[in-house]
């Protein structure tokens, strides 16, 4: 079945095309097309996954074009990582498709929404099947396009429009790095193929300096896509998109693409210590940085957005610390619990029609399904033992302790504390306390609850693929048996547990039991609070430096265009026009003038003829 893995992305593509053609006619029934297509994808992907579990890597390439001596190929590659990602993406995408049927019901552009979801899923599935960088880059850009369309889905809202543009441009900035890195690798190895490039690193064709440069450039692409510092600012703004989009794009797929890319090129990164350190540092810094901002956000989706950035930072940290398995493990569990949290948040927004958590409260009884499921997600992301997030985060902390710099380990621990704090701040604000004028708030339809339920089960169960107790199935499979569990000290798990409970306890003190004043931080250090509220002024800095510089240059160029380029064009047009009007003035209706001109012309011809003797032609 692995040789037919290329079929998996085609179902959502088919759904995209069908819905573009017939969506207007099918209206609300469009959902069934999307759901059916992604379900087929999911089933197919699961078959491929099961096949890969027992088999070995399958790769097929077809010639795309030959330019000179270089042959470009397209193909599919079913490595363990790819098969895993394929199933993961298909699963989350399917659940989001199901959920959207309830969430987006009644929207005027319902079928368009499903069409875009199909396009996005196609791009993401294509990305994780790519055997070479060029193909990956094409799908990578398609993912960007899909996210642009989905974030800007409510295009009549100015913020949504701006957010879509911002997401596109910021990830494009990263993509330029990716492109240059890819070109450098091609220049050195004459191949885009992952295997060829890895071989070139192994036999020394690729010098260490060049490797470092190329992988860091490619990592810039991953920074853009995965919302890592300093290209993260698009991700919180992207929350302007519909909530299922946030669950799909900003939890499980698009932002995971950066992590996936680094993981797919992992042998390359391993060859360069500098690159690994860069990845780890960016990841660790992002983890703590985004977590601190998450503390003060008041928009339910923005809190989740910053927690996504922070968790992606964890994954990068794990990759940088050399633990490929921990990163993919956390990617998987994060995909489940973050999608769950986003979908639950969507359910809350659906019920109370606001995103401001200060206006929520007391929803525990009103949302009897959403609330416990949200709690599961929050417990999982906080790393409470027995939930999936605990195992994967523990793995990352262990990797950071054994291979990474100590500072990054402690940063990650601090980020874990903050994570559990802001998640439970969110939980208590939304679900506990007094109900605040949401009398009509009620649970969403079954099509919305069911996907959340599935994700809730997975948010617990997915952790048991890789535990210190039942063996490390995932790691052994992903690395073809070469995996050995890091001999991390046992106190790390204990520390992680303490930290996560401490965060929860603190959140309970402040927001649950209200034994501690909420403005405890802002009253003592108001400037820190202000700094966090303004997201470290990153957006302002960008506006003052990059944005103003670019707009200044473009204004200059606009003048050049208007006066120089357009001036030249006007000059040319003017000359022709003047010549034409002078010529037309010659046609004055005086037959005698015409006659005179004709005679003069004839005379000139005769003179020339006489002088040259008729041989002048």
């Amino acid at each position: 079945m692995m040789n037919l893995a290329w079929v998996v992305p085609l179902f959502p593509l088919g759904s995209f095309i069908l819905l573009l053609l017939f969506g207007r006619r099918w209206k609300q029934r469009s959902a069934y097309v999307g759901i059916a297509a992604t379900l087929l994808s999911l089933l197919w992907a699961l078959v491929v996954l099961v096949d890969r579990l027992g088999g070995s890597t399958y790769e097929a390439n077809w010639t795309w074009m030959t330019i000179g001596g270089v042959t470009l190929t397209v193909g599919i590659s079913v490595t363990a990582l790819n098969a895993w990602m394929l199933a993961l993406v298909a699963l989350v995408s399917w659940l989001v498709h199901v959920y959207s049927q309830g969430y987006m019901a009644g929207d005027e552009r319902f079928s368009t929404f499903y069409a875009y979801l199909g396009l996005f899923t196609f791009a993401m599935l294509g990305l994780v099947l790519s055997p070479n960088l060029l193909q990956a880059y094409i799908f990578w850009e398609l993912v960007g396009l899909g996210s642009f369309l989905l974030i800007g889905f409510y295009f009549y809202k100015e913020e949504a429009k701006a957010a879509a543009k911002k997401a596109f441009i910021m990830t494009r900035i990263g993509d330029v790095g990716f492109l240059i890195g890819m070109m450098l690798l091609f220049w050195q190895t004459h191949s885009f193929d992952y295997d060829d490039i890895f071989r070139a690193v192994g036999d020394g064709t690729l010098s260490p300096g060049m490797t470092t440069l190329a992988v860091i450039l490619i990592f810039i692409g991953a920074i853009g896509k995965s919302g890592q510092f300093p290209l993260h600012t698009w991700l919180p703004d992207a929350m302007e998109g519909p909530t299922p989009v946030s669950a799909l794009i900003h939890a499980a797929t698009m932002v995971a693409a950066g992590v996936y890319l680094v993981a797919a090129l992992f042998p390359l990164y391993e060859a360069s210590h500098t690159a690994m350190m860069t990845v780890a540092t960016i990841g660790g810094v992002t983890a703590i940085f985004a977590a601190t901002i998450g503390l003060v956000q008041t928009d339910i989706k923005r809190v989740l957005a910053y927690s996504t950035i922070s968790q992606l930072g964890y994954m990068m940290l794990a990759l940088g610390a050399g633990s490929y398995v921990a990163a993919i493990f956390h990617l998987t569990t994060h995909a489940f619990f973050k999608a769950l949290l986003f979908l639950a948040a969507g359910s809350v927004i659906h019920a109370v029609r606001t995103q401001n958590i200060e206006e929520m409260g007391g929803l525990w009884r009103r949302l009897p399904w959403t609330a416990p499921l949200f709690l599961i997600g929050a417990l999982s992301i906080s790393g409470v033992p027995l939930f999936a997030g605990f195992f994967s985060k523990d793995e990352i902390l262990a990797a950071a302790w054994t291979n990474g710099p100590r500072l990054l380990f402690w940063l990650a621990v601090a980020a874990a504390l903050l994570t559990s704090f802001y998640m439970f701040r969110l939980f208590f604000l939304v679900f506990s306390g007094k109900a605040r004028h949401h009398e009509d708030a009620h649970e969403a339809s079954a099509s919305m609850v069911a996907p959340m339920f599935v994700l809730g089960v997975l948010s617990i169960a997915s952790g048991y693929m890789q535990t210190p107790w039942f063996g490390s199935f995932l790691g052994e499979w992903l690395t073809d048996g070469a995996y050995r569990h890091e001999a991390a000290p046992g106190w790390i798990a204990v520390l992680a547990t303490i930290v996560s409970f401490a965060g929860i306890f603190l959140a309970w003190l402040m927001y649950g039991a209200q034994k501690m004043p909420r403005d405890w931080l802002s009253a003592r250090v108001p400037y820190v609070d202000e700094l966090l509220r303004r997201h470290y002024y990153i957006d302002d800095i960008y506006r003052l430096t990059v944005v103003s510089l670019v707009s200044w240059i473009s204004r200059l160029l606009a003048y050049v265009d208007r006066f120089l380029v357009e001036g030249l064009a006007r000059l040319a047009a003017g000359i022709v026009g003047a010549a034409a009007s002078a010529g037309s003035r010659g046609q004055n209706g005086q037959a005698q003038t015409y006659g005179a001109v004709t005679v003069a012309g004839l005379a000139i011809l005769v003179v020339i003829f006489a002088l040259t003797g008729g041989y002048w032609l």
């Binding site: 037309s584 003035r585 046609q587 004055n588 209706g589 005086q590 037959a591 005698q592 006659g595 005679v599």
Partner: protein
Amino acid sequence: MTLSAYLALALILFCIGLYGALTKRNTVIVLICIELMLNAVNINFVAFAKYGAHPSVHGHVFALFAIAVAAAEAAVGLAALIAFYRSRKTVHVDEANSLKH
């Protein structure tokens, strides 16, 4: 020698005709000048027919033919002139200028 004299006469007549056709305002004079040019050409025909390199009767025939055509042309031209005069109340050729840019 004799041929040159005929040709010189034809040239002088032709130039007078051309000058008149291009400069005179009165359309009748213009028509007369055109006749003058045609007749200058006829003199050339006849002169070449008599004193040319290959004297033959062709030149005479051609001269008669041109005279016939010129007569027809004069009739049409005068008719057009009368029509023009009726519509514009003038025979000045520089006022027949509606056909322009």
